[in-house]
Symmetry: C2
Subunit: 210 residues, 2 copies
């Protein structure tokens, strides 16, 4: 599927980078291939020299970035850390990914992850791998007894991932403030909310009412 030719990897990259900007700005369905070509400063036809279809551009962007995230999750799981810290690292990685390249993350979340129906099963499998990576972290926490045994690890992973995706979605659609403080604070809040729960323990509850 359109392997990168020996020379001139520049133009291919320029097209991908332009596509990120255009997809983020106009949405995948509401932009023309010519918009991407114009943004890249390249002739229309060249896009089809490097990619088989508009959709392949999106697939490429998604797979490239998603693999980085899957690798990061695996690497974090391999560290010798308490489970809560591992989850905090995963949340931190994803949030930093958004902070570092909001357009790319917007495209991945909005056009792929949250639009899984449009592109069918191809991406569902990839997305599931992220669940599984998180579930593996939860699973070892359950085995060592620090996490509840009553909540299946796949279910827990789903809650964790769902909360993060919702958070990113809030930033993407500007219903949540996007400041460095918020990004940092959210890393802790999400872990505290999901791992620690919303409820007070009995002791805290007394303290709060006293």
């Amino acid at each position: 599927m359109s392997a990168a030719p020996k020379k001139a990897p520049d133009k291919r990259r320029m097209i991908l980078d332009a596509a990120v900007r255009v997809f983020a700005r106009q949405g995948f369905h509401h932009c023309r291939v010519s918009d991407v070509a114009d943004e890249a400063g390249v002739a229309y036809g060249l896009v089809y020299h490097y990619f088989d279809s508009k959709e392949e551009i999106l697939n490429t962007l998604f797979l490239e970035r998603w693999q980085i995230m899957l690798d990061a999750i695996g690497e974090i799981d391999a560290r010798d850390l308490p489970s809560r810290d591992k989850l905090r690292s995963v949340a931190g990685f994803i949030i930093d990914s958004y902070r570092h390249d909001p357009d790319l993350m917007k495209v991945i979340i909005v056009e792929v992850t949250r639009a899984a129906n449009s592109f069918g099963a191809l991406h569902l499998d990839e997305i599931r791998k992220a669940y599984e990576g998180i579930a593996r972290i939860v699973e070892s926490a359950r085995e060592e007894g620090s996490f509840k045994s009553g909540i299946p690890s796949e279910f827990a992973a789903m809650c964790f991932y769902g909360a993060i995706e919702q958070l990113l979605t809030g930033w993407i659609f500007e219903v949540l403030p996007r400041t460095d403080e918020e990004f940092e604070r959210s890393k802790d809040l999400i872990v505290e909310a999901i791992c620690g729960g919303l409820e007070n323990g009995a002791a805290d509850q007394l303290a709060a009412s006293g």
Copy 2:
């Protein structure tokens, strides 16, 4: 905007019901207006007699159902119940909505809620109202001291809603089993996971390791 005429409300309803089935099966973007007309057993042009555009059909379906959910959340909040039970009722209502009419919920989640970019700000406001309803439940729990004060209620609501949406998404795309037992079990699990947290308290932890 195309108010229902005095007589013959049947056909209008038939078109809406057909649209649910077609949108769920083929996706909003990948179906033709003629598909909806055919499914409804109605001439193409009649669709435009009752609706201004394809998109208005989707808007109508969404707003109709979303309002029911907003009302339910408000009604649940007004009950005299512990906060956890209120959240359990909200989760139960949403999950039962899916169980009762999976096609409609699929359309709402996949084509509207998870595709907020395509349709712009109109629906973002409606979606935010659901957050706010949930946040109000959390807020009173914080005030009475049963929920942590360190997690803002809007943030908590986002986690809760995100987890539920992820759960529905799993059912919609058939990555999670759809049985009555699973539906019931999930109502409890989601509340236990989000309110109680994934971590064991110290006592449970001892019990688990012993």
